[in-house]
Amino acid sequence: MVQGLYEFFKPHLLPLLYAVVIVAVLPLLAGYVVLLERKVMADMQARLGPMRVGPHGLLQPIADALKLLIKEDIIPESSDKWIFWMAPLLSVTAGMLAMAALPFGPVFQIAELNVGLLFILGISSMGIFGIVLGGWASNSHYSLLGAMRSSAQLVSYETAAGMAVVSAVILGGTLSTRGLVEIQAQKHIWFFFLAPIGFFLYLVASIAETNRAPFDMPEAESELVAGYMTEYSGFRWALYFLAEYTNMIVVASLATILFFGGWLRPFPNSSWANLFDYVPMLLMLLVGGYSLYRAPKQPVAIQKMVMVAVAGLCFVLALALALPQFASAGSLLASMKPGLHGAFWFLLKVGIYLYTFLWLRFTLPRYRFDQLMKLGWHFLIPVSIVNVFGVGIAVYLSRSTDEGGMGWSVAASVALTSVITLLAAAWLAKKGEHEPAPPATPESV
């Protein structure tokens, strides 16, 4: 009977391992993304950021997590205790569940769903409940207003994000996330080059979907106290923030899978672009060399040691990336190449996307809420509809002449329809320019 049970569970053991790895690593990762954000913010403001807790502030997330854990748990008196407890859990669950359908590499995927893309979109739309119920359960006017604003924003930009995703699905012909990356490998090109406007629409919509600046009116520090998170203190607030950064990682992963080929190098499978295979190890060598170069200039001894350790780590990674590249074909080392290089490319692309998020947060001023809604409904949704038309027409026009690889007809038709979409976008932007300011006393919230 034990044998029977083992046979029953055997296909689920590896996904279970992946799931445990993701759930264990994700809070740590989210904490270090917070540290990265503070360091990047400091860099853009010509200062250093957290340097005190651990060398170069590397232990800051752990200190923050410890502090939040031991804080007093304040629950408002007349709030709905059950819903107050459940709301952050809903947000975090929705964020982590979306990770189940994402392929992080050629083999690293928890569940290969036929409708994986729609699954991620659907689970993200369930995350709205965490916000709305959290704001309501706090039994405070500011929380409720902030929750309604935040969920209205999320619902509005969900449609635009969905239609931007549809333009990639038209090119890919499948809803499965792994299938989309494999189609990009087959066509030897990333979908970003075939549907660039779809990517930019998805970029803007995903920034609004995750409540990041410049669309962070509902949770900004100087507006409505802190929106739906006002009454949440201690670890419950940490759960909401974990949910937000998890959503950021999910959205970044989805963008890389849809538009940047997931774990594929630029121009995958094309023999003329094989030079790109040397990029991972060169990049690691560069970073390691720079760390070594900066090590003697650190003022404190422990910072010197940390820089040397980082350099050593980079060199070890460069070696690990180089070995499968130079090993003979067919050996065990060479078979690890797609996994290792795939992980590197995936993390690099997600990192660049997250860096764009951080960059935009500290560069652009915040949108006012009515400007935000107007942008979503009056600009993004019409442009994304025109984009879907354009990509559909481009695919139809090039269907008869496409031999399986990337034909030049695809590029021509995509260029034509992109120009039409850009003209539509310009017309919409011009039309929305001379709107009068809203009246001083708005009639409804």
Binding site: V115, L118, F119, G122, S125, M126, V132, M148, S151, V155
Partner: protein, 172 residues
């Protein structure tokens, strides 16, 4: 075996959540239980190998309609309503009528089971391969055979959107 376990799990969850929807005092609690019931229904769809419908149920019903419900409940602010009686005056009579109707329907189901061991009625024996690939088949059916209802449904949604906007404006 796995099929049976998931059916009873999701089915039981759906029925229990539905009972809680109908008997909860607070409208927000009712809405949360309805979300659970809808997710359990989506689970039943998944167990029937209807994966596209499963995800459409989650996106549209849970992520769209229920968010709308929760919004409206918060706008209407039902603290006062929660303290009054929840069931109307005729509730025993109405309950009896509903149970009689459901008993009649169950009688139809029961007496139609004469040939129940007939493999014609075994859902588990029906090959799921006739419905795969699910999304492609639904897409083909929607855009070829059911094109007219599809277009009418989109016009109906447009009418509903315009109607909702008109009704929500303070002055028309």
């Amino acid at each position: 075996m796995f099929d049976v376990i998931t059916f009873y799990l999701f089915g039981g969850l759906a029925v229990v959540s539905a009972i809680l929807v109908v008997t909860a005092r607070n409208a927000v609690h009712s809405a949360i239980f309805l979300v659970t019931a809808l997710l359990a229904t989506a689970g039943i769809f998944l167990q029937l190998h209807a994966e596209f419908l499963f995800i459409v149920q989650v996106i549209l019903y849970v992520g769209g309609i229920m968010v709308l419900f929760v919004f409206v409940i918060m706008l209407v602010n039902l603290d006062v309503a929660a303290r009054q009686t929840q069931f109307n005056r005729m509730w025993p009579f109405a309950l009896l009528l509903a149970l009689i109707v459901s008993g009649q329907i169950y009688a139809v189901v029961h007496y139609a089971q004469k040939g129940i061991s007939d493999p014609l009625f075994q859902v588990a024996a029906a090959p799921a391969s006739a419905l795969e690939p699910n999304s492609e088949l639904i897409g083909q059916a929607l855009f070829t055979q059911y094109m007219l209802p599809f277009e009418i449904a989109s016009i109906m949604l447009l009418v509903a959107m315009i109607g909702a906007v008109v009704m929500a404006k303070r002055k028309v």
